[in-house]
Symmetry: C2
Amino acid sequence: MAVDKKAHIMNHAIALFADRGFEGTSIRDLAHEAGVNVAMVNYYFGSKEKLVEAILDEKASYMKDRIEELESNASLSELDKIDALIEDYVNRILSGASFHKFLYKEMMDTKRDVIHSFLNKSIARNTRNFAAIIQRGIDKKMFKEVDPILTVTSIIGSISQVVVSKSMCNLLLSQPEANEPYTDEKFKQRLVTHIKSMIHAHLLVESSNHK
Amino acid sequence: MAVDKKAHIMNHAIALFADRGFEGTSIRDLAHEAGVNVAMVNYYFGSKEKLVEAILDEKASYMKDRIEELESNASLSELDKIDALIEDYVNRILSGASFHKFLYKEMMDTKRDVIHSFLNKSIARNTRNFAAIIQRGIDKKMFKEVDPILTVTSIIGSISQVVVSKSMCNLLLSQPEANEPYTDEKFKQRLVTHIKSMIHAHLLVESSNHK
DNA sequence: AAATATTAAACAAACGTTTGAATAAATCAA
DNA sequence: TTGATTTATTCAAACGTTTGTTTAATATTT
């Protein structure tokens, strides 16, 4: 029972932190939104800051990328791996849009130093691992001599840019302000298709195109 | 004299808001950092929130894109315009990295509603105008039939992703934590080159390549 | 001498957190 | 199962700080 309530508070916290920021969300706001007493946050988590750490712990698997698991599959080409990672990133970021916004804010924020540097090292490692796959494709003469790290930056940046602003997203899709574009499966597919085709054109030498 | 002092406070405010957020920065922090009395912020700006509005007013030209000015130049091809916009975005975002981080945070933040929707409408309009240029290139059969809006999203997302995290950036460049990558002209050029080549490969039909 | 700028001190409100009593749940001897 | 006892949860109220802001006196310019 206690686990459910902790998870309940954490979910509301993620949504509020994503929309109003950490300092912008008071414990009273959070308690009211989650329908619990103000004292419960400190009872369950110890402090407001430890609540953030609990959220990060709980979502640790979310942040770990699938690269190790992909590397063990020897039958996949570099391009297959990249395609799989693009799908994986889009799926995870769009379905956890609030959490991603929260992560982004904490990444930009130097106030909680331990979390700040942890997140930055985390995304730097993921980017490096991803870039290594591209580098291998270049070494095998399958890819053009692109900038591997900035190529990964463009992939992640493309997805993040969409998540940053729900309102902008809806404006672009001519949807009403209240629409939830991230859970829309068609939108997800549109984003995957765009990124894949852009990255393919960027990476593949012309002769690889079957045209 | 008053203008100088106002600008002085605003510059420190941008840096602090970018690193610690709006609610994460107290007026006492800001006053101390800027070397002025706590009362001066309210004396010059009226309130903490009006300080944000003053910053946005002052930097309004920063946010207006060069599209109108480019459109008046009939001798430029669609690709020329896109190249010019990429250079313009990289230059402006990298040289005003703190301000861009601050904008990004406000864009994600629903707390100051007027500012939130203003910024989202602003970037949506810029994205739409930019996408219209791509659409014209498609209509002229110069570009492939890409997704214009998501293509612009990728361009802006690529630049923003770099600015989001100085520490990550330095990690990727194997630079020390204290390094300032955004003001590095070589880094700026590397980013422009990457985005241009990626977007060219994405947009141009194969026959256009002089190879 | 009038207007502007600067200051330390004080203001009420909101903040994260703690308390101690009240309630609910779980544990266990009979 | 029962009733007793311990443990875990919930709550309203209060704690000391910090918050944005104002005040009223002083200094500086015009």
